[in-house]
């Protein structure tokens, strides 16, 4: 007797209409119905941040949002960070440059959380970065490199260190 409800969401700029079961989460709908598997399923209790997406501009754990709650919202997933031509965003490029990716499983969540952080604090301090990414765990322990990548894009990296030069790094949108 499971009801199915139609919802309308704008995902990475594209309007989508999906029929969802009330007990399915936004994470399940993104991955299983919309085939956007960049958003990862991991702890399912809102601790690890691997499923981080932006919902109306704010970082949320997609495992804790029912898909029906996303009705009428705008969602940004990691797939929406790169430019339409496939070029990586400056933030993504900085992750590569700084070696902030090891196994890569937490990376989509880290990227989306960092993207949100930079939207709010374009030039975050190290403490603001640590607090802003406290909801994203990395079992490989790449925290230093992740923080350095964010600093490189924000132009707050301590010189020297081969940072992506802020003058040439386009503002990450």
């Amino acid at each position: 007797m499971t009801d199915v409800l139609p919802i309308e969401v704008t995902v990475n700029g594209r309007r989508r209409t999906v029929s969802v079961a009330p007990h399915h989460t936004l994470l399940e709908v993104l991955r299983d119905d919309l085939a956007l598997t960049g958003t990862k399923e991991c702890c399912l209790v809102g601790e690890c941040g691997a499923c981080t997406v932006l919902m109306d501009g704010r970082a949320v754990d997609a495992c804790l949002v029912l898909a029906v709650e996303a009705d009428g919202t705008g969602i940004l997933t990691v797939e929406g960070l790169a430019r339409p031509d496939g070029m990586l965003s400056p933030l993504q490029a900085a992750f590569l440059e700084k070696g902030a990716v090891q196994c890569g499983f937490c990376t989509p969540g880290q990227l989306v959380a960092a993207h949100a952080l930079l939207g709010e604090h374009p030039h975050p301090t190290r403490v603001e970065i640590e607090d802003g990414l406290a909801g994203n765990l990395c079992r490989c322990g790449c925290y230093q490199q992740i923080f350095e990548a964010v600093e490189a894009v924000a132009g707050t990296a301590e010189a020297p260190g081969g940072a992506v030069a802020p003058a040439t790094a386009e503002a990450d949108r």
Partner: protein, 289 residues
């Protein structure tokens, strides 16, 4: 996740009728940061989940009305932590909201949800107790107000009756402003539940208010009406004796996985002293300004 029916009432009357009709078979969904976890692990299995986020009376927002600060039930932690009026009138609440979960959690977790879950470790509860919070409640019998101190029973249990829901949280704005501060201990820095969570408030009358949680079945509020704690001339021993009275009812569980009772009781005293010092400093800074 076990299937359920989803209801998204557009009016308060509709929500109250549904909650009254379904009783324990209905669960209220606000931010979902606790409920969705429990729906998934099966510790709750309601027939209907009632999403209250489209009810106008519960809408997010913070406003000053008739000498009170009114916080809509579905206001999220991020907005509480950042709000200038809350930071000014209830610093402890802004500080507590700022450390709930992670950014992702704070963007979803609501103030009313934090209270209605009635977790002994709820970070906003001690701050709200210190600031004399009152819950505005709608139910089958109409509206009523509940002092927050009369709301908590034990973990997961409140004095809300069948069919009732919280629509807003009100804080009085007293003529003598309460300068307050929040402190907590967690196992790791960042995203964790509190092993001890505490708020302190002082005002010009000299009365100190201390709220604390995660050391017993419900958050507690205790007042120092002897005015010793806020008295700059009081000896350390005199203050310590007052703290012993204030913390006498702390009874941390020996079975908690977050921290042992001895650690919690010791930290309660440390946090009490720290929050008191910060509150007094804030009160004095204001006097100078």
């Amino acid at each position: 996740m076990h299937p359920f029916t989803y209801a998204r009432p557009a009016s308060l009357a509709e929500a109250v009728a549904l909650l009254a009709e379904r009783g324990p078979d209905a669960r209220i969904l606000a931010g979902g940061t606790d409920l969705v976890i429990r729906l998934r692990d099966g510790t709750v299995a309601p027939g209907v989940v009632v999403d209250v986020k489209r009810i106008p009376e519960l809408a997010p927002g913070i406003r000053v009305e008739d000498g009170r600060l009114v916080i809509g039930a579905t206001t999220v932690m991020t907005d509480i932590a950042a709000h200038p009026v809350i930071r000014h009138h209830a610093a402890a609440l802004a500080e507590a909201a700022a450390v709930v979960g992670s950014v992702q959690i704070r963007n979803r977790a609501t103030l009313a949800g934090n209270l209605c879950n009635a977790s002994p470790a709820a970070d906003t509860a001690p701050a709200l107790l210190v600031h004399g919070a009152v819950l505005v409640v709608a139910g089958p019998g109409g509206m009523r107000r509940i002092d927050l101190d009369d709301f908590f029973v034990r973990s997961g249990v409140t004095t809300l009756a069948r069919g009732e829901l919280v629509t807003a949280v009100e804080l009085p704005i007293p003529a003598e402003r309460i300068a307050s501060a929040h402190e907590r201990r967690t196992r790791r820095r960042g995203h964790d539940l509190a092993s001890v969570t505490l708020a302190c408030g002082v005002d010009r009358s000299g009365v100190t208010r201390i709220g604390y949680g995660s050391v017993g079945p419900r958050p507690l509020l205790r007042l120092d009406e002897s005015r010793t704690l806020a008295d700059a001339g009081a000896s350390a021993d005199a203050r310590a004796a007052i703290f012993e009275t204030i913390f006498a009812d702390a009874s941390p569980s020996p079975r908690s996985m977050r921290a042992g009772p001895e650690y919690r009781l010791a930290m309660l005293r440390v946090l009490g002293r720290r929050a008191l010092a910060t509150s007094i400093a804030r009160l004095e800074a204001e006097g100078v300004a």
